[in-house]
Each structure stands twice: as structure tokens, then as C-alpha cells.
Subunit: 496 residues, 2 copies
């Protein structure tokens, strides 16, 4: 029995070696393509995948148990991401061009002509996630941003959707080759041992991962302990706490808790931004509203058997703690689990944080009842690194919540006001990251335009003749991109 | 006997604890200062250090054995760095502001208002270097860039200049406090064990280091193996190879080798950018010119006894390899060693790379004679990650050297044409970094405006009311900084 449990078999060591060798050979010709040429590659992949929707969505449906409208929306988001990165690389700011012309009068020493830009790191291994079989998988954000940067991608498929991975990879590869990408620009591999080998291979220059804290940390440790450590961009666990103030409760209580139930059960609770903790003032009087809202959500099958097992274990562990009670216990049905909602107090959470501060992947969340606003700040500090943190509050409470807001700003990648963390817009301003354990690289995002920054490093050319400079650094700004010229952002040419 | 060997004693564990606690408490008020306020702090420190030159330079002279003009120049560079970062933070691009206004028509889902900016990571521990007692020490580039970012700094002093470190720290602290910095913004600590503790302390959020590969790697491993790994910006070893083409040799040979001798013996060869390998076409006929140039350089004392010991061992190890010969053997005198120049062939280097591809800290370098241009590319690949790589060539050889140039671009942080790597301009376009082992973080630089990026992480605010947004993210661009508004760089306000 293979890891994938299907006719898709695990990649052998010699196959991996050949794939990595092709990726290493592709690195230089891919890096040499212009941003415009790479934008065409990305748009070509997007178009091919849009046209393949009727082939891919049913496969995704059968392997992930996710509903068709969600999967069609996710595929649209995935091809939208590819097109966003095409726009991003044509805009040109990502190249980080700085030109300091020679200054013979500089003190303490004369300054030579210095021209800096970012260049691709080289082959990247991307570990696909289970929960977004399109958007965080074969042609997902990590792949799109690495290809946009000019890095070949070796995609370690998630065992939860092997056939979909194989087929998506075939479409990606066909589109890349049809649009002139070097052979080796992209490939897919299967198997745990394959991923472990890839992250340690000297030809691999960076890795990106979305998944569990345990697996992500193990791979991070391998990347860091190489003879030549490489950047490892892991998105691991997140609790995504939601804090509701007394003002918000009194004016919008029922609406807030109904939206909360929708948010935490979205995709059967299998979002990395699922709100796992809801802080409500004690005496909220909303238990019946909550129970009714949860009861309206039907059973939904989880992604795969391992996730079912992990989910049942985690819920069991939570529910059995002293001071933790079920608002809605949830049931295991033939069509998957119905949602679970647990209840505890802020004092209890702070006294026994361990199981409650671990991510529980699936349709369960914990209502935490608090009596003093200070408990919110103590909880925020106990919770630590998170992808998101949310406050529901009223405008006239702004000054009271400011200290909590700053506590959360120091611990989360995205801070949300009167909204919900599920649903991650793919745009310039999005940040999908956060301090450990949300990610292993707090400076970086795996969603949005800035995801490309992960796969680039600066190079400075000193005194280089115009004919040997890469086009973005030449005097004439032929690409018409923003450049910093002697400290000032401009699209002007370098004056003669 | 303490590590420092002077009356400056090692910091105790309880002193370190108190210092880290003050740094942790300073983090939030320091982060809350405006860029303009922090710019005034940095300029205040610069002014104070400039005025203290007559106190500090003699101390530096006695502890480092470096000549006074060099030390005065280095102090000027150091205060220039502080002033550059003041300008950088006032310019505002470093904040990375992106504002995507709400778009109810966005597909597949409506987009909320998203506003991203960078915020400081929190307390940073900086490990000072031995070789630049001002510019890479207490008030050096790491300190300046971390303070500019809004991070408190705990400076682990280098044992080579303890009195200077203590005094410089006193001036830095006096200036910071006089200009209103929170108590705990800066402090200095002493001792190997202190540094080891600091890098593992949960209150420390990042570390920066300049020094040997062995020490840097050990600290990197500690940072990566924490329960919550932190970014570790280590600048370790670099060989800084120089490649001379036949054309350059025939037109400028004597001039090039004389400049090479000046460069490799600068600061008694104790620069991280010291050219450690010079590739010359065999039959260069310049041995006499080289020997004469080396003979003109007098003895110079090295920084401290440990560096003397390491240097003598490394030279001995190199000189005793088969196929390695002395052009100038160097001597140990009471005033320190005179420079050593060794000679080998490219074939020998490729056959026995180990000792020759390790950095030798001090006034020694190796002349490598080659017979085919292909040997240069093979050597470039064998050498690996470097801070710099240099080509001396003539314009009519541009096309022939292009493949070598790309090999070097893929392995070095800075690629130099007809110049020398020593002397690192502090400017926007400088990149002082490179693939491992040049650094442990190839995306980052420790010199120049972009050094600030190491100490910042993004936060995205979603749907946040104007009154709770940090000033750089509000509709009115009061700071008049470049911001990306719905994908377009502008200084405009957000339209109502």
C-alpha cells in the first residue's frame, strides 16, 4: 500500500533525482526569461486550468469530498492567483531595483556605481496542502509565486488528492511547455520519503509548506540542519481567536454568533483561518441561538481518513477536560461529522491551556466565557502566534479595546475588525502569515502579491558595463518599472 | 580570567534576565514612536558619537591595534550609517504600506478593506564583530537598522574590544535617553555564555551576527532549534574570489596585481570582503611585481591573540599542501605578521579544494594560475556562496565572460567589474550578503538601506476603523510616504 492509496505510486529516489536534475538545469534559462515572458507562462497555465475545470472538479470532488460550487470557486481563485502574479511581475516593483550612480566625492571613500536587483533563488520544493486541493496545491499560490519569481517548482503532492494532483500537474506542464518554458520548470512527486529527500537535496534552494505543525516543524528542522540551510516557508497551525466585546454583544449578539457558526464550519472547519476560539461575555444568553445555528449545519465529510481520525481524537481530548462542556456535542454520521461546539471559561482556559490552544482541524470550536476585559488580554498573550485575530466591537468602545488590539497586532498576521477570518482575499495588501507557530518565517506571506518575495534574493552589480547588466538595471528603463535612483523612486532613465 | 580578559566582567544570568526584561518592556513604546521620532534618536546617537571621537578612537586603537586614520574613518562611516537609517525611515518605503479598499464586486467573493504595513519584530540580540570595532560593533549597522525598525537591541560585545564596547554603549544609551527613547531600548552584554542564553530567550525575536562560520553556525543552530525558531541573520565566511582574464592581464596586469595586494592586505587582511583567491592566467610573468608589492606592505598587528593563532594555523595548513608554494612567505614579527602570498594552480585547487576554499582571516591570499577559461567556471562552482566575486576584464571580452558572470551572480551577493571588493559603500543599492556560507539568510543584507528589512514583519488590518489604524494606514497620507493604493504606488490620500 502506498502513501497515496491509489494507482498513483510513490516517486522513486532515482526518479526524484532525475526530476531535481531537470529542475536544476531549468533554473538558469527560466531565470533568464523576461517578466513579460513569465507573465505569459502564468496566464497560459491559468487559461488551461480554467478550460480543464470540467475534468478537474469531479476528480477533486471525489478525492476531497468538498462540494462542487466550493471547488469551482476555488479553481477560479487559483487561476485568479496565477493572473495576479502575472500582473505583479509586469508591474516590476518586485525586482527591488536600486541604482546608486558613482560618486567620486562620497565620504569617507568614493562610491562606485552600484546596481541592485532581486534574482530567483533556484529550484523550490512546494508541499501541497490537503484542504485546498486547487488553491494550496499543485497550481496554488506557492507554485504561482515561485514560478513568477523565476524558480523551477518540484511539487510534493498531498496524498489526499493524488489523481487530481497528477492530472493538474499534466495540465500545468502542458501549458508551460506550450508557452515555451524550459523543460524541468515544473514537476510533481509523490510520497513522504520523497518530500524528505527533496528538502535535503543540494539542488533545492527553498521550500514552501502548508499543513500540520508536526509535519511542518519536522521539515523545517531538516531544512535548517542541512550543511547549507535553506529558507523554509511553513504555514503551520493557527487558532484564530475571536473576541466579542460587551458592546458588540448587546447590539449584535445573535448576528455575531450566527456568523461565527457559518465561519467555523465553512469547508467542514478545514480552513487554516477557522475561528477556533470565540470569547463572549459570560451571561451572553446566546446558548440557544448558538445551538440552533449549529444544528442548521449538516454533516459534512472530512477530506480523508487521517483527518477524521485526528479530528475525533482532538475533539475527544478537548471535551474530556475538566471545565469543558458541550453546547452541541456533534455526531459522527455516515456523511461525516456534524459540527461540535464546546464551552469553557476564560479562567479555565488560562489554567489549563494545553489542549485548548492546539489547533483542532475540523468542524469544532470553543466558546470561551469571560467576566473581565483583562481576561481577554491575558488570553491573547497565552495564545501566541496566529494567522489571524478578530475583534467584534462597537465604535464607542474603540479606546477600551486599543490595548487588546496591540496585543493581537504583536501576535497575529492579520487583525480583523467586525468581520471573519475565513476567506483570504488574494491582493496586494493581504498578509497570510504570522509569528510561530502560525508560520516558520514571520517576515513572509503565502497569499497575495508579496508571496513572490520568498523566492528572490538581492544581487548588487558594481561598476558593471551596460552591456553586461541585466535589462532592469540598464540606464534606459526599457521595462518602465519603478526604480530607486540615488535614493528616489522614479521611472526615469539614469541621466547620461 | 573572563572572556574579555579586562576589568570588564561577564554579564551574569540574572543581569541578562533584567536586561532582556527591560528590552521586552521597551518594545511596545519604542514601536509606538513615529519614524520622525526614531530618526531623531538615530541622529542624536550619531552626533554624540562624533563628539566622543577623541575618547573612543584611542580606546579602539589600544584594543584593536588598528591605525588611527582607519579608526576615525570607520567612526565617520558608523555615524553616517546611523544618519542614513534616519533618512530611510523618514522616506517611508520601508513600511511597505499597501491599501486595498473594499470591493463588494470582487469575484469569487467580495473583498473587505485590507491595509498592510510592516511592524518591528521585537527585541533583537546583535553579536558584534571583532574586525570593525565601530561599524560592525556596538553602534554598527545591525544596531542602527534594528533601532530604525523600532526594535530594542541587546548588544553582545565582542571580547576583542571590551572597554571600547562599554564606553560606546554608555554614549549610545546616554544619547538615546536624552532624546526620549524608552528605558531598555539598548544595552550591552558580555560573555560567550551570555550570548548563547540570549539567542535562546523567548523575549528575543531575532538575532544578527557577524563573525566566524563556526560560531555563527552554532548560534544559527540554537536559533533554529528553539521551541519558537527566530530569524538569525549571520554573516559568516567569504573567499571573495577575483578572476582576471587574459585581456585584462595583458593590458593592465601590473596595475591589477598591485591593487590586489593593497586590497587583500587592507586592515591587515581582516575584512570579510578580503580577496582570498586571485585567478591569473598561467605565464602571467608578474611574480616579481607581486613580490615587490607585497614587500612594500609592512607588518601589522592583528586584532587579538585568538586571531593571530587562527591565522598562523590557517597559513601553515595552506602552505603545507602539495602543489602550494610561497610567492612571499610572510614573517611573524614583534609588530605582527607581514603579508603572505601563496601560489597554486587551478587544477590543484579543484583536486584539493578543502583548505583553499576556507576563509583565512588575516593578510594572506592565494594566487591561482589557470590555463583554460573553463577552469574559471569550474572554480566558481566549487567555491560556492560568497559575499562578493570580482572579474577583471576588457570590454571586448564581454561576451566570453558572460557565462562566468552568471555563475558568479548565482553564488555571490555582489559582483564587481574591474574593481575591488574591500570597501562596502553604505547606500540604497548595496547588498552585503549572499548564499550560505556567506550568510545564513540569503534574502537579506547587513549593510545599506535594506538592512532594516530584517527586523520587520507584515501585519494586515481588515475592516479596521480609521481611529484604530496606525497613522501610515489612514486615509490621509499625513506622513507623505509612498503607498500602494489598490495596486498603484502613490502618495495620494485614499479617496473618500
Amino acid at each position: 500500500m502506498t502513501e497515496t492509496g491509489t494507482r498513483v505510486r510513490e516517486t522513486t529516489e532515482s526518479e526524484l533525482d532525475a526530476i531535481l536534475e531537470r529542475a536544476a538545469r531549468a533554473a538558469r534559462p527560466l531565470a533568464a526569461t523576461s517578466p513579460g515572458e513569465r507573465a505569459q507562462l502564468l496566464r497560459g497555465v491559468a487559461e488551461t486550468l480554467d478550460l480543464a475545470a470540467d475534468d478537474l472538479v469531479p476528480l477533486a470532488r471525489s478525492e476531497s469530498h468538498l462540494p462542487e460550487p466550493r471547488l469551482r470557486g476555488e479553481l477560479a481563485r487559483t487561476t485568479g492567483q496565477l493572473r495576479l502574479f502575472a500582473d505583479v511581475i509586469e508591474e516590476g516593483s518586485w525586482l527591488g531595483v536600486c541604482i546608486d550612480t558613482a560618486d567620486p566625492h562620497a565620504r569617507p571613500v568614493p562610491r562606485p556605481d552600484l546596481r541592485r536587483m532581486l534574482v530567483p533563488l533556484g529550484p523550490v520544493v512546494v508541499f501541497a496542502a490537503s484542504n485546498f486541493p486547487f488553491a494550496f496545491s499543485v497550481a496554488g499560490g506557492d507554485t504561482a509565486s515561485a514560478l513568477a519569481a523565476g524558480c523551477p517548482v518540484v511539487l510534493k503532492a498531498h496524498p489526499g488528492h493524488p489523481e487530481l494532483s497528477l492530472h493538474t500537474a499534466e495540465f500545468v506542464n502542458a501549458a508551460l511547455l506550450a508557452h515555451g518554458a524550459p523543460v524541468g520548470t515544473f514537476d510533481v512527486v509523490f510520497g513522504v520519503a520523497t518530500g524528505v529527500s527533496a528538502v535535503q537535496d543540494p539542488r533545492v534552494r527553498a521550500a514552501a509548506f502548508t499543513g500540520s505543525t508536526a509535519a511542518g516543524r519536522a521539515l523545517f528542522d531538516l531544512a535548517a540542519s542541512r550543511p547549507d540551510p535553506i529558507p523554509f516557508y511553513g504555514e503551520l497551525g493557527s487558532l484564530n481567536p475571536v473576541f466579542v466585546t460587551p458592546g458588540a454583544l448587546s447590539r449584535r449578539g445573535p448576528e455575531i454568533v450566527r456568523e461565527f457558526v457559518t465561519s467555523y464550519t465553512l469547508g467542514a472547519g478545514q480552513f487554516c483561518t477557522k475561528p477556533g476560539l470565540l470569547f463572549l461575555p459570560a451571561e451572553h444568553g446566546l446558548s440557544a441561538v448558538l445551538a440552533a445555528a449549529v444544528a442548521e449545519i449538516g454533516a459534512a465529510r472530512l477530506l480523508n481518513g487521517r483527518i477524521v481520525e485526528g479530528y475525533e481524537h482532538a475533539v475527544q481530548r478537548l471535551a474530556s477536560r475538566p471545565g469543558v462542556h458541550a453546547v452541541v456535542p456533534g455526531e459522527v454520521t455516515g456523511g461525516g461529522p456534524t459540527p461540535t461546539l464546546l464551552r469553557t471559561t476564560a479562567d479555565q482556559l488560562l489554567a489549563d491551556p494545553d489542549p485548548m490552544l492546539e489547533e483542532c482541524f475540523g468542524p469544532a470550536s470553543v466558546l470561551v466565557e469571560y467576566t473581565h476585559p483583562e481576561q481577554l488580554r491575558a488570553a491573547a498573550r497565552a495564545i501566541g502566534g496566529n494567522l489571524t485575530a478578530t475583534i467584534h466591537s462597537e465604535p464607542d468602545e474603540a479606546e477600551q479595546v486599543r490595548p487588546l488590539l496591540i496585543d493581537l497586532r504583536d501576535r497575529a498576521g492579520r487583525v480583523i475588525w467586525n468581520g471573519w477570518p475565513t476567506g483570504v482575499a488574494v491582493s496586494w495588501a493581504m498578509h497570510h502569515g504570522g509569528p510561530y507557530p502560525a508560520t516558520t518565517a514571520p517576515l513572509h506571506t503565502s497569499v497575495g502579491a508579496h508571496a513572490i518575495d520568498r523566492f528572490l534574493r538581492p544581487v548588487c552589480y558594481q561598476g558593471m558595463p551596460e552591456s553586461l547588466l541585466p535589462e532592469p538595471l540598464r540606464d534606459h528603463n526599457a521595462l518602465n518599472i519603478p526604480r530607486r535612483l540615488n535614493g528616489v523612486l522614479t521611472t526615469n532613465d539614469v541621466p547620461a
